[in-house]
C-alpha cells in the first residue's frame, strides 16, 4: 500500500472519530447518553439505521456472493419495506407512549419481569456474539492483506469504536454514522465506476450487463417454492419480513436508533427512509460484484482468492509444484474463455445459446481446477479455509484500483465495521444497565452513578467483542454466519413481542413458557434438519404464539 493510501485511510477514520467525540462530549445523565436527548432528525435516524445494518461483512461478502452465485441474495431484503410500515403504524407509538429506553422495558409493562429479563438475555447473548463477528470479519481479511497479526487489526477497530462510543454514547454513534454512511456509499460508487473503467475498451456498462446476465449473474428473482433454498422470492418476502420485523422492531441496536428521534413522525420518516433506500443500496453493492465478475472474464483471476493461503502452499515445495500446475491449466482455459466472452458480448439470437454452452463447458473445467486447488490447500494445512468468497472484492480492490482509492475503499470497510459495532456496544450497554442493572441489581443510584455505569458497560462489551473477535475461527461465510445466528434467536424474540402487541389473551407465564419451548425446538431444527435458516424466524415466532396460546387455554380451563 502506498503512503497516500495510508493517509486517506487513517485521515478519514480519525477525522470521523475525532469530530464525533468533539461534537458529542459532555453527557450529563443517561437520558442524554442512551437516548441522545431525543434530538435526532429523520435523515440522521435513517442514515443511522442503515449504517447500523451495513457492517463490513456487507461490503466484503456481498460483492463476493454476486461474483460466485449471482444477485439472488437481493431477495433477502424484500420483506424489509413491509416491516418498516408495520413498525411505523403499530410498534413505534407504543414505544413512544411508554417512553422506554429499551425495547425490553415494554415486555415488563405488558407481561412481567421474567419475560423482560428473558428478552434482554436472548438479545445480550445473540448480539454479544454478533458484535465479535462484526469486528472479526474485517479484521481477519485486513490482517491477511496487510500482513499484520489478527490481534492488531482487531484491537485497532475495537479501540477506535470504544473511544467514541464510551465518550459520547448514542449521540456519538448517530453523529459518526452519518459521516461513515457518506464514506461507505461514496466509496462503493467510486469502486463501481472504476470497475467499468477497467473493462476492455469495447466493453461498456451495457455489454458488461449483457455478459453478466447471460452467465447467470443477474438471476435476481427465483419464484420456486423450495424450503431448502435460502434465497427465493418467498423466503425473501415472508422469511425476510419476519427477520426485518424482529431486527428493526426488537433488536435494541436498531430500536435505540429511532427512539432517539425528536418526534414520532421523525422516527417514522427515518424508518421509511431505510425502507426506500435499502434494496437499491444492496442492488448497487451486488451489481458491483457482478461487474467484478465480468472484469475477471477479461483479466486472469487467481485460482484461489485468498493470497495468504496460496503463500502457505508455496512454502511447501511438493504442494507448490502441484499448485503451479493447476494455475498453469487455469491460465490456459482463461484465454479460450476470454475469446468466447468477447463474442458473447455482441452475440444475437441462437448464437448466444451456442456460446453459452461452450462457456459452461469451460466453467465446469475451471470449477474442477478450483476444487483441485482447494484440495492442495487443505493437504498443505488442514486448518486453512477453502472458501474465498469474502476475498474476491478486496483482492480486486488491492490489485487493480489506483493509489488513494485503495485507501478510500479500506476506509469504507473499517467505517462499516465501526458503525455497526458502535450501535451494538451502545445497545448492549443500554440493555445491561436498564433491564438488568438498574431494574434488578442497584435500583436507587444517582444519575451520575448510572451514567458512569453506562460508560463502564459500554467499555465492558467492547472488550468482550474484541476478545471474542480475537479467538473466533473463520466461519464458512461470514455474512451467512451472522444471519444464521440472528435467525436462531430472532424468531423467539419476535414471537414474544408480536404476542405482546396483538394477542391480549396470552399473559406473562404463557408467553414465557411458549418462548422457552420455541427456542428449544428451533435449536433442534438448526442442529438436526436441513431447513433454510430464514424459516427459523417464522418457526420460532409461530411456536411462541401457538404454545403460549395452548398454555393460556389450558390454564384458563383448569
Amino acid at each position: 500500500m502506498s503512503a497516500l493510501d495510508w493517509i486517506v485511510l487513517f485521515g478519514t477514520l480519525l477525522l470521523i472519530v475525532g469530530y464525533g467525540v468533539y461534537k458529542t462530549k459532555g453527557s450529563k445523565n443517561i437520558e442524554s447518553y442512551l437516548k441522545g436527548d431525543n434530538s435526532m432528525k429523520w435523515w440522521t435516524i435513517g442514515l443511522s439505521i442503515m449504517a447500523t445494518q451495513a457492517s463490513a461483512i456487507t461490503f466484503l461478502s456481498t460483492p463476493g456472493q454476486a461474483y460466485e452465485s449471482g444477485m439472488g441474495f437481493i431477495q433477502f431484503y424484500f420483506g424489509l419495506p413491509i416491516a418498516m410500515i408495520i413498525l411505523s403504524i403499530w410498534v413505534l407509538p407504543i414505544y413512544y407512549k411508554l417512553k422506554v429506553y429499551t425495547a425490553y422495558e415494554y415486555l415488563e409493562s405488558r407481561f412481567d419481569l421474567k419475560t423482560r429479563i428473558l428478552g434482554a438475555f436472548l438479545f445480550l447473548v445473540q448480539r454479544g456474539l454478533a458484535a465479535g463477528i462484526t469486528i472479526y470479519a474485517p479484521a481477519i481479511i485486513l490482517s491477511s492483506i496487510l500482513g499484520w497479526p489478527l490481534v492488531y487489526t482487531t484491537i485497532i477497530i475495537g479501540s477506535l469504536v470504544i473511544i467514541y462510543t464510551v465518550s459520547g454514547g448514542t449521540k456519538a454513534v448517530s453523529q459518526t454514522q452519518k459521516h461513515q454512511m457518506i464514506v461507505m456509499m461514496g466509496g462503493m460508487i467510486v469502486a463501481g465506476l472504476f470497475v467499468v473503467k477497467l473493462l476492455p475498451e469495447d466493453i461498456g456498462i451495457v455489454e458488461a450487463t449483457k455478459i453478466a446476465g447471460h452467465l447467470g449473474k443477474l438471476d435476481l428473482i427465483n419464484t420456486e417454492v423450495d424450503l431448502e433454498n435460502r434465497y427465493t422470492l418467498w423466503t425473501g418476502l415472508i422469511g425476510g419480513l419476519f427477520v426485518a420485523l424482529s431486527y428493526f422492531g426488537t433488536d435494541q441496536s436498531q430500536v435505540a436508533r429511532y427512539l432517539s428521534g425528536k418526534t414520532l413522525t421523525e422516527s417514522r420518516l427515518g424508518l421509511m427512509f431505510n425502507g426506500l433506500l435499502k434494496i437499491p443500496m444492496q442492488f448497487i453493492i451486488l451489481f458491483i460484484g457482478a461487474l467484478v465478475f465480468v472484469f475477471y472474464q477479461f483479466n486472469q483471476a487467481p485460482v484461489f482468492f485468498n493470497e495468504a493461503a496460496k503463500d502457505e502452499v508455496y512454502l511447501n515445495e511438493e504442494q507448490k509444484s502441484k499448485y503451479q500446475a493447476v494455475e498453469h491449466e487455469y491460465a490456459n482455459l482463461f484465454e479460450e474463455k476470454r475469446r468466447l466472452i468477447l463474442l458473447l458480448s455482441n452475440a444475437e439470437g441462437e448464437q448466444i445459446d451456442v456460446l453459452k454452452e461452450k462457456i459452461t463447458v469451460i466453467d465446469n473445467q475451471e470449477d474442477e481446477l478450483r476444487d483441485e486447488a482447494k484440495t492442495i490447500i487443505k493437504a498443505t494445512n488442514q486448518d486453512l479455509e477453502t472458501t474465498d468468497t469474502d476475498y474476491v472484492f478486496i483482492t480486486f480492490v488491492m490489485e487493480n484500483l489506483p493509489k488513494g482509492i485503495i485507501g478510500l475503499l479500506l476506509a469504507v470497510i473499517f467505517s462499516a465495521a465501526m458503525s455497526s459495532t458502535s450501535s451494538e456496544l451502545n445497545a448492549l450497554a443500554s440493555t445491561s444497565i436498564i433491564d438488568i442493572y438498574k431494574r434488578n441489581i442497584y435500583k436507587h443510584g444517582s444519575e451520575r452513578h448510572y451514567l458512569i455505569a453506562s460508560k463502564l458497560f459500554t467499555l465492558f462489551w467492547g472488550i468482550v467483542a474484541v476478545f471474542f473477535a480475537t479467538f473466533a475461527g473463520l466461519l464458512d461465510n461470514l455474512i451467512q454466519a451472522v444471519n444464521i445466528l440472528g435467525s436462531i434467536f430472532y424468531g423467539t424474540i419476535l414471537g414474544i413481542f408480536l404476542t405482546g402487541f396483538f394477542i391480549k389473551y396470552i399473559k406473562g407465564n404463557a408467553v414465557f413458557f411458549g418462548a422457552v419451548i420455541a427456542q428449544i425446538i428451533v435449536l433442534y431444527f438448526y442442529f438436526y434438519s436441513e431447513m433454510a435458516y430464514l424459516w427459523f424466524n417464522l418457526l420460532g415466532c409461530g411456536l411462541v404464539i401457538i404454545s403460549g396460546f395452548l398454555y393460556q387455554y389450558i390454564k384458563n380451563r383448569g
Binding site: I85, G213, T263
Partner: protein, 44 residues
Amino acid sequence: MENDKELENNDPPVLGKWKNFYWLLIIVLVSLIGIFYAITRYFE
C-alpha cells in the same frame, strides 16, 4: 417527546409532496420486484 394526541395519530408520515409514505414504499417495492423479475426472465 410529544403529547398523547400526536401519539394516537396513526396517519402516514408526510414529507413534502409525498402525502402517504406507506403507499409510496409499497409502490416502490412492487416496481422493483417487477423490474428484477423482468431482468431475470430476459436473460433466461
